[in-house]
């Protein structure tokens, strides 16, 4: 059975890009130890591969200073079979390498304050989207892509513009972004990402049953989702970060030309350079509630 998209293999073949938060500051204080989280993740990746032999899973780690691919099922060896032990072996080795590298880069990068850094989700999302675009453009047939974000650390407001750009580019390529929050705080970024791209946003209560959540909610392919009743978000936090200080604000000034958001009144828009001339400065920068 072929869908309207002739390049698709079938409607139930998926390409899942999993973005994993490896923020050491978060995991050091998390209720669920990283080791347990990792085994849940490996089982989930394996389940996806078992669901369809054409399924394709990529895991991207988002650290404090860098992001990298840590697993790609397409080069999982000649056998191609989903072997839990092999997956674990490969992934854990790569993750270890990544953490070491991230530690080195963080140490060299003095700006990361201890305990208060956010993970580089903007970078990880960009890598994921690039990977999906590469799959789109290579070969004759490709699976249906989606992105799953497993986030624990709080949002980094300084990444607001980059994250929003990734979200809109995902929306344009019709790639849903699913989000599963393993931390304590809701993520406004991921709420908006899932809302805009039509993905599922979830913040599980019972973290020791993470695999159950992942298998029940995020394992189904996009075609099957049409027939399933998946959890719905009750509300979305649409607050934005100001472009000047990267603070999350719910009231601020908006540039009348490029819609950049500022927490204070500026004479000139730092994004597009429009000058708010003295004649009607307040008209141009009317406080606006982000809807």
């Amino acid at each position: 059975m072929t869908t309207t998209h002739s390049k698709l293999y079938a409607d139930d073949v998926s390409l899942v890009v999993v973005v994993v938060d490896t923020n050491p500051f978060f995991w050091a204080g998390a209720a669920l130890p990283f080791a347990d989280f990792f085994s849940h993740l490996i089982h989930f990746v394996n389940s996806l591969l078992l669901l369809n032999h054409l399924n394709h899973v990529v895991v991207i780690a988002a650290g404090v200073s860098s992001c990298a691919y840590v697993f790609d099922s397409s080069n999982a060896g000649a056998s191609g079979a989903a072997d839990v032990a092999a997956t674990l072996d490969k992934a854990s080795r790569k993750v270890e390498e990544f953490i070491k590298q991230d530690a080195r880069e963080t140490a060299g990068n003095g700006t990361v304050a201890a305990g208060g850094a956010a993970s580089l989700f903007s970078g990880a999302l960009s890598i994921a989207l690039c990977y999906i675009q590469r799959i789109f453009r290579s070969g004759t047939r490709h699976p249906q892509p989606r992105i799953l974000c497993l986030q624990g650390s709080p949002d980094g407001p300084e990444q607001y513009v980059a994250v929003m750009n990734s979200i809109f580019s995902a929306q344009r390529s019709m790639i849903p972004i699913d989000s599963c929050i393993v931390g304590t705080q809701d993520s406004a970024f991921l709420q908006q990402a899932s809302y805009i791209t039509g993905g599922v946003y979830m913040k599980p209560q019972e973290l020791s049953g993470l695999f159950q959540y992942l298998a029940a909610v995020f394992a189904s392919d996009l075609h099957s989702r049409a027939f399933l009743r998946l959890p719905k978000t009750l509300g979305v936090d649409f607050r934005a970060s100001c472009f000047c200080h990267k603070k999350t604000i719910d009231m601020g000034y908006v540039c009348s030309v490029c819609l950049s958001i500022f927490c204070k009144y500026h004479k000139k828009c730092s994004t597009c350079g429009s000058e708010f001339i003295r004649v009607m400065p307040d008209l141009n920068s009317m406080p606006d509630q982000r809807q």
Binding site: T22, P24, F25, F26, W27, A28, G29, A31, F34, A35, D36, F38, S39, H40, I42, H43, A85, L88, S92, E96, I99, K100, D102, A103, T106, A107, A114, G115, G183, T184, D186, Q205, E206, L207, S208, G209, F211, Q212, Y213, A216, V217, R229, L230, P231, K232, T233, L234, G235, V236, D237, F238, D250, M251, M280, D282, L283, M286, P287, Q289, Q291
Partner: protein
């Protein structure tokens, strides 16, 4: 501002049948000249003595004539009443009067404290055309939310009508561009259709001329137009003029060249019509200059079979051949056709819809501009192509002239409240199961070391199998089910509102009303800064008062709420009060700033 001349009836009372005449209005006075020179109903009134004007409503239901009443003194009720033939001319007249009065009363310092009149129109610069009024009414009818705001603020004297609409110009413009602006042009039927009708018994031949036809004659035959302006009514009466014209037409038509010559010799005026139109000839000469010089018209003349016997165009059942000798007969059908086509394409530039030929003639004279000086510059052709493009534009096929704009699309404000729900519910139900993050005070190195330890743990332990206990799995499934069925229940009950749905209907509607009201007020508040005029200052004061009232009402709602929904309400009210607070603090800041400068409040 110019002048305005229009045919009207002057009436002393409503019952009075009225005196037919011509109403002329200039910027400072109006005169009325009766058509009957014996009539005593002549008027010459200075506009400064006119204090106001009223007009009656005309709809199809009653056969009332359109009236315009210019009142001398609103207290005493003296004035002048004019009756018009149609609503269009009355309205244009009324608009003119409104403009003149607005100008005068703007200058005259002791503005009479006229009591608010109950008439539909008000004097002053706010004068609106009825079309504008209608558009606004239509918008209000179609949008109940807008209507509510309008009622609250405009009728509540917080905003002025013009202020209210100034922010909604685009709505009005959209509405306006929908309305067709196409004016009726000339008929494409030729004037040849002014057929003489013979009654068959007498030798009389009857031509029937209507204003429409006369207008067209003026447009197509400038010489006749000029003659009319010159001769009527000084030398000839209008009737005589047209009789002569028709006689000339008749002579031309019957090709009775000899008779025509004879008559022309006797009657100077008649000869006028029989001659070739010299204005047209002059125009033709100018036009020929603009013709592509590579075109050799003389060489092509040989192809013109019209000049040969037994050739020509079939017209009125007889072949029209050209008698090359006669000067009169050179007016060929093709010339007429060309002229007619030119006039139709040119279109009707005046809106004057009058039955009075004199008015038509004068209006046409005004609209006709002097032809551009005959000096032919380099870019004539460019000019011409521009002109052609302009003249042949079909307005209702063009995109609206206004600058393209993309309206800022703000979604239904209700969604904003829904989005607040997560925030509202979190402190209530969203327990974190002791997942409070331990305050992480680890250094960067320690944090990474911890993570590495975790990784080595994974390597040592391999995977914990089974990955999760069955009771945990059951718990998760139950939780998911419950959540889904709860959201489903909510959605089934009330698909669009969730947080708002908890509140009693009355409170919810009240809150939504306040929210839209606050948005409208804030828009006006922020757009009046910086305050440069007294008008803006007063506006800000009014808006501020209204905001204070709403603020108070919000507090009341919060306090009077049932305890079980009080939390939700305060969550909802918070953004509203925040927005208001921002406005108030801005106002305070400005006041302090200006008092520091030491000038009068807000620097004027």
């Amino acid at each position: 501002m110019g002048t305005m001349t229009i045919g009207a009836k002057y009436k002393t009372t409503v019952r009075d049948p009225g005196t037919i005449g011509i109403l002329r209005m200039s910027e400072d006075k109006l005169t009325f000249t009766p058509n009957d020179p014996r009539s005593l109903m002549k008027l010459n009134v200075d506009f400064r003595t006119i204090k106001g004007h009223k007009f009656n409503k005309v709809d199809g239901s009653k056969p009332t004539p359109p009236l315009l009443n210019l009142s001398k003194d609103s207290d005493k009720g003296g004035g002048y009443m004019f009756e018009f033939d149609n609503v269009g001319s009355r309205d244009s007249c009324r608009d003119f009067v409104a403009r003149v009065l607005g100008k005068h009363q703007g200058i005259v310092p002791p503005r009479p404290n006229a009591p608010p009149e109950k008439s539909v129109a008000s004097t002053g610069p706010d004068q609106l055309s009825s079309a504008e009024m209608e558009r606004r009414m239509k918008l209000l009818r179609e949008d109940s939310e807008l209507q509510k705001l309008h009622k609250k603020f405009v009728l509540g004297n917080i905003l002025q009508e013009s202020e209210f609409w100034a922010t909604r110009k685009n709505l009005l413009d959209d509405e306006a561009s929908k309305a067709s602006k196409q004016k009726p042009g000339f008929k494409s039927a030729m004037l040849a259709d002014v057929r003489p009708s013979a009654d068959g018994q007498t030798n009389k031949v009857t031509f029937s001329l209507t204003t429409e036809i006369i207008h067209q004659i003026f447009a197509e035959k400038p010489a006749v137009h000029r003659a009319f302006l010159d001769y009527v009514p000084k030398k000839l009466s209008e009737k005589d003029f047209w009789t002569k014209y028709c006689r000339a037409e008749y002579l031309l038509r019957t090709k009775n060249t000899l008779a025509a010559k004879a008559e022309a010799a006797e009657d100077e005026e008649l000869a006028m019509f029989l001659k070739n139109d010299d204005i047209l000839a002059k125009e033709a000469k100018i036009k020929i200059k603009r013709v592509d010089p590579t075109l050799d018209m003389e060489a092509d003349a040989g192809d013109d079979y019209i000049h040969l016997a037994d050739h020509g165009i079939l017209r009125d059942g007889s072949r029209e051949t050209v008698d090359a000798d006669s000067e009169l007969a050179r007016r060929t059908l093709s010339q007429d056709l060309n002229r007619h086509a030119a006039v139709v394409l040119e279109g009707r530039s005046t809106d004057v819809e009058s039955t009075d030929t004199k008015t038509v003639a004068e209006a046409l004279a005004r609209s006709k501009k002097e032809p551009p000086s005959s000096s032919i510059s380099e870019d004539t052709s460019h000019e011409r192509s521009l002109k052609v493009a302009r003249m042949t534009e079909i307005e209702d096929l063009q995109a609206p002239r206004s600058l393209p704009y993309a309206p800022l699309c703000i979604k239904d404000p209700r969604e904003y409240f829904d989005s607040q729900q997560a925030n509202a519910l979190r402190p209530l139900g969203g327990s974190n199961d002791g997942r409070k993050a331990r305050n992480c005070t680890l250094s960067t190195d320690d944090a990474f070391r911890h993570l590495m330890d975790q990784m080595s743990l994974i390597k040592d332990n391999k995977l914990n199998i089974p990955v999760l206990q069955s009771d945990v799995a059951l718990k998760v499934l139950n939780e998911l089910n419950e959540g889904i069925s709860r959201s489903r229940r909510l959605n089934l009950k009330n698909p669009q509102d969730s947080l708002l749905g908890h509140l009693p209907h009355r409170t919810r509607d009240e809150l939504m009303d306040h929210w839209t009201a606050i948005q409208e007020l804030l828009r006006h508040f922020w757009s009046s800064y910086p305050i440069t005029t007294t008008v803006l200052y007063n506006k800000v004061q009014r808006v501020k008062d209204a905001m204070t009232q709403i603020y108070q009402k919000l507090q009341d709602i919060k306090e009077s709420a049932q305890p079980d929904v009080r939390h939700e309400i305060s969550q909802l009210v918070k953004p509203m009060t925040q927005a208001l607070d921002a406005a108030f603090s801005h106002d305070l800041e400005q006041q302090q700033k200006s008092s520091k400068v030491g000038s009068r409040p807000n620097g004027f």
